[in-house]
């Protein structure tokens, strides 16, 4: 499969170009905080409940809140119907996503409580974990959970020997490498890093640099979406 033609990718993007991204803060009524994200063909919704009481109680911590993160794919979100419920993939993604977000949450404020983050993938088109983390981060802010910063995430990879930002499905499936990262752009601290495929050390450095740029653009969109929602309320 040919991925690069005249410097453009299969969906006509430049190597360093993100897909169109849209954030909608507070998309749900019942949740304490929520955010709907469209990222290219991905449609993802995140909800935050808490801080609230922990059930079962033996999971609670005396000096801080616990964070729980559930990544779940709707059965109609992919081409071939997915059987409902968790599988090994979604359990792993839930774990690394939780660990990506955990460091910025000020957990010491809420001993013996839990902050529950639920991410539902309504439509999947490569990069769902990143879209989920971006949505979850904004949903936490929408819920008023105290945080040291926002976490932003995107994937970088390699197709046709070219390092590219924000892979689509075909690039992800048939490309040479896929590397999702998440970070607090303000401090530069990386909170999630995964890679599969083949990269030289040079390419890795390039990819990391490109990922940082991608995350910075996303962080700006997250900030803007939150300001959009709360600016009005401030003036009232």
């Amino acid at each position: 499969m040919e991925f690069m033609k005249n410097g453009k990718r299969i969906d006509d993007r430049l190597p360093n170009e993100l897909r169109p991204i849209k954030f909608e803060v507070g998309a749900l009524e019942r949740a304490d905080g929520s955010c709907y994200v469209e990222h290219g063909g991905n449609k993802v919704i995140a909800a935050v409940y808490g801080p609230r009481a922990v059930h079962p109680r033996h999971l609670q911590e005396a000096n801080r809140a616990i964070i729980r993160y559930r990544y779940n794919m709707a059965s109609f979100s992919v081409e071939e119907r997915k059987r409902p419920g968790p599988d090994r993939r979604s359990v792993e993604i839930s774990k690394v996503s939780r660990e990506a977000i955990d460091p910025v949450i000020i957990k010491e404020f809420y001993p013996r409580s839990t902050i529950d983050i639920f991410v539902e993938i309504l439509q999947a088109d490569a990069g769902t974990r990143s879209a989920g983390i971006n949505a979850a981060s904004v949903a936490l802010a929408d819920a008023g959970v105290p945080m040291r910063g926002l976490i932003s995430s995107c994937a970088v990879g390699k197709v046709d020997e070219t390092v590219v930002l924000d892979l689509v499905k075909e690039e992800d499936n048939y490309g040479q490498a896929d590397m999702p990262i998440a970070m607090d752009v303000r401090t530069g601290e990386v909170t999630l890093l995964q890679m599969d495929g083949h990269l030289t050390l040079d390419e890795f450095e390039q990819a990391l640099e490109l990922g940082k740029i991608g995350c910075a653009s996303i962080a700006e969109m997250q900030r803007e979406a939150l300001i959009q929602k709360y600016r009005g309320e401030e003036n009232e």
């Binding site: 749900l28 009524e29 119907r81 639920f118």
Partner: protein, 261 residues
Amino acid sequence: MNDVIAEIRKDYIYGLAKRSERADGRALDEYRPIQVEVGLIDKAEGSARVKIGNTQILVGVKLQPGEPFADAPDTGVIITNVELVPLASPSFEPGPPNENAIELARVVDRGVRESGAIDLSQLTLPDGKVWIVFIDVHVLDHDGNLIDASALGALAALVNAKKPSERYGYGPDEALPIKEYPIAVTAVDLDGEIMLDPSLDEETIASSRLTVISGLQGTLAGMQKSGTGTLSTEEIARIVKLASSKAMQIREEFFGGSTDG
């Protein structure tokens, strides 16, 4: 938590009911605003998002070729599933579907199946296989009356669905053969006052509710009483009549164009 609040509001809501009023100012037979959007999920063969007030559900319909049941080799198969994901309510928990999710899925399934909404005889394939129709309901925001929202979403998603024939090498894609438009209408009885489209508070304090699913001619396709309370035969008769005429209005509003042709 919500149960506690509803318990506190019980007296208030019952007091209002005595004067034929509701907490959100609706008439007893009035629905909250209903919104239906179709085709939001490109990966699904059909999809619909339904909002009734703050209640929000998303339905995806997927079709795949598969083996028919041995006792019905010439008919397609319908499989309905509901996920009450914990994102939708503080009272929903992760895990396999509980009895509420299974009841909801089975009531939605009954409406589609028993009314003959899909012409299953047209779902056969030349190689002896049949289309398996998966109706997956994803509840996003639970503010009461999930049954009516889910049933409406299922129907809208089916009407929106296309057989993905081309992908599986069976010729051009075609619309699903829809021949009936079942609409579910749910009522609760508070002290003799019948209320349609119960809000979460009304649903929580009512000791029972009745869902009536009816078709184009007003004929009944399915019913479900739920809850430990009792209903008199007179109340049931009143609800059935009310539900069937309300179903006509809802059908006209959202499927008026399709049911004429």
